[in-house]
Symmetry: C2
């Protein structure tokens, strides 16, 4: 590593210790919430065969990172020429999970609830809130053959429980059902449902006038473009959205199915978390595998930042040709969320250490190590000073790191602690208050809030 210049890689964020304390806290909260709701934690490998990744949506293939063995082309014989050259890094956790379900279906119990918190990779142009490597936290429920609709109401309630426990301020989960625009477009004679959805999806970015223009360019009549925009602009926190859609006078069986499903989701959510979910008929999601309910989540006050938690129902993603495993899932964009809220957060310290055991001379190290071991046995994170040093230097060592306590072992011979406050019993000093008291490593306990770093928002 010597001599070469080190520059950060754009789009591959790395946290400093204090930021990592915040990230770890958030991931722990998310994991604990998912487990409280009975989701099983899984991890899948980072790579998938590229053909499995590329047939999951028109927009995804240009984002994929291919993986190949560096030495592969140079090699012959049994180690060369294997299929690894066809591998890519996963761009989400849903496609790998669907593959995992197919691979292990005989060893899982259904309906299967799983959570998965892992890095994913997308070769997109890095920009605010968009990274090339980022952490996602997903929950999904899959079942065999048919999946009850009530899971579509349950999943946003679970992530809402997690998000409410994070230091991120107020948020709004937006829900739509793809069957609504699909049935509506078919009802007004727009046959290119996917193309129309893709244009309407740009509404927040480019505005209604530009969307209207694109729709007409794509072959819609002015009246059809007007109708598609009117539908997209409907939103409500209760089932009234359905009446507003029906008032537009378009009828189609797919539209009716979508309205019924979305009404059920909004009604259930309204009972358990009033106002949390908003039916928002412009939500579409970029990934092609969604077939019904779709979710996005805005931070209130930062609507332009993009969704920090998204997902939807997918009926056909996991199928082996004989059996289909329909699922619904939702994913918290942990890195994107943290990039937004971290600048407003600090932590009490950037290390787990509660106590530094001071060292008067290097000969005291064995005794200092025994004191540290006694404190650790009772759950108190402790390190021994890196070197023998004077009183003031030991305090500064702790102070620079935000470590709240310095432990001074008893001096059998005060003479060897030149320049230090020699004591006849162990003492511990709270360096914030300056208070110093006699203490026994087998019984002393700091206040609970000092045991680990905590967030200050």
């Amino acid at each position: 590593m010597s001599l070469a210049k080190i520059t950060p890689l754009s789009g591959f964020p790395e946290w400093l210790p204090a930021q990592r304390v915040i990230e770890t806290h958030c991931v722990d909260v998310i994991r604990a919430t998912f487990e409280l709701h009975g989701f099983v934690g899984l991890e899948t490998r980072a790579v998938e065969p590229i053909d499995r990744l590329t047939n999951k949506g028109a927009d995804t293939d240009k984002e994929i990172y291919a993986v190949s063995r560096l030495a592969e082309s140079r090699e012959t014989g049994p180690r060369g020429g294997q299929a690894e050259s066809q591998l890519g890094l996963h761009f989400d956790l849903t496609v790998p999970f669907a593959r995992y379900v197919l691979e292990n279906a005989g060893r899982l119990t259904f309906p299967f609830r799983r959570y998965q918190i892992q890095k994913v990779w997308r070769g997109e142009r890095p920009q605010e809130g968009r990274f090339r490597e980022f952490l996602q936290a997903d929950i999904d429920v899959v079942d065999v053959g048919a999946l009850p609709n009530h899971y579509e109401a349950e999943l946003p309630l679970v992530v809402a429980d997690a998000l409410r426990a994070l230091p991120i301020g107020p948020f709004r989960i937006q829900v739509n059902n793809r069957k609504i625009p699909e049935g509506f477009y078919l009802g007004i004679g727009l046959a290119d449902v996917a193309g129309t959805l893709r244009i309407v999806d740009k509404l927040d970015k480019i505005g209604p006038a530009a969307v209207h223009e694109l729709l007409v360019l794509a072959g819609a009549s002015t009246a059809q473009a007007d109708a598609a925009l009117t539908l997209a602009e409907i939103n409500a926190t209760d089932a009234s959205f359905a009446e507003r859609v029906r008032a537009l006078g378009v009828t189609h069986p797919v539209l009716e199915a979508g309205l019924a499903e979305l009404t059920a989701v909004i009604d259930t959510a309204g009972e358990h978390a009033p106002g949390l979910l908003v039916a928002d008929l412009k939500i579409a999601r970029g990934l092609d595998y969604y077939t019904g309910t779709v979710y996005e989540t805005q931070l209130i006050g930062h609507e332009g930042y993009g969704s920090i938690c998204s997902g939807g129902r997918y009926d056909a993603l996991a199928s082996d040709g004989k059996t289909t495993y329909p699922g619904v899932g939702i994913s918290i964009g942990v890195s994107r969320l943290l990039a937004k809220v971290m600048p407003g957060l600090t932590v009490t310290r950037a290390t787990p250490t509660v106590v530094v055991v001071a060292l008067g001379s290097e000969q005291d190290r064995p005794r200092a190590m025994r004191i540290a071991a006694a404190l650790r046995r009772r759950g108190i994170a402790t390190e021994v000073a890196p070197a023998a040093a004077k009183f003031g230097k030991q305090i500064r060592f702790a102070d620079r790191r935000g470590i709240p306590y310095v432990w001074f072992p008893a001096s059998a011979d005060p003479e060897i602690h030149t320049g230090q406050s020699a004591t006849v019993s162990d003492q511990v000093k709270d360096i914030r208050s300056g208070e110093q008291v006699d203490a026994d490593p087998d019984t002393w306990l700091p206040p609970t809030q000092d045991l680990r770093p905590t967030l200050i928002s």
Copy 2:
């Protein structure tokens, strides 16, 4: 995903839910131990510039996975042609950490203690205990300019604390100091230290006769090969190894430095964990960046399985040309360790769920969800039954998953619970004992050992 055949990828292990409970337990124990010892948790990105990876050792370049954007060659303009084509997946956590230290030196406090638990990738031929994607758990201490030797004794004591808390049986940490063979070889006139080390490193695999033959083939005299083998066969749990080396009559200042450093490590370890560390003079480690103390770890009774925890001191890995950050680190091979011990372990259940709330009819779902929310508020992982079903089916649902409790909401109208045991207050059944009692979701608590899945070894 439909129709395509699903086959596992050799070398990329994925756990089933019960196995993942074991892995999560072990990682939690390791993390808690590292934090008790004052190590700061970090993560680094998965990719590094390939030139940083390839100049870290002769054996590593053929193991590297290169990463490139799939669409890169097809693109022109500002998104194409960037440096990403020169990226590779990291093969360990030490090289990325050294780069992180150089990149962030001004924002870290030294000596810097960090732990890092992440996947790494090596394109090796998969075999027992060797994967292409695997989890490592590392601790390192780095300092500026000089690093005190006492950290070389401390680090194996930290991982020993972690390993002793894992269900892995007895183990043995073997320590050597590269200066010992280096000084010894120079002292007997063998100038190709690296080449000699590489041959002696095969001792456990191919035996002393074959090593002797290879050494002679490489240019050593019979007497030199004999001496190198005699040195390699020395091991001891106390400082007596040094006397046995000195008795061989070879003198060299590098040898003396190595003996002194290893004696200090063994003496310190002997005081805090007698018998845990073994001075074993054949240990060399494959990676080129180690410059002094090196570690390996054997599971006792499975010595041929290879090291499950390795590391060493590196003096020159992190340097920007002006400042050097010497370090010492040790890495638990979590995946390798688990692959060995998992077959002997089971868990009480493969889901976090403690309680399933039974559902007499779909209209009861809102009430069941409120009961579940009340239980979760007090830390009891709960899910609501996937569908309304009869008594027996709800019990079987829980039983198949090892979920210990089924909650029966009170029936306002027993008539709607056809075929079920209608009750006037909520009841909870321990399906293991069959005991069923009245219960209030705001006060009921299961025994602590039921709150999460636990290991049975």
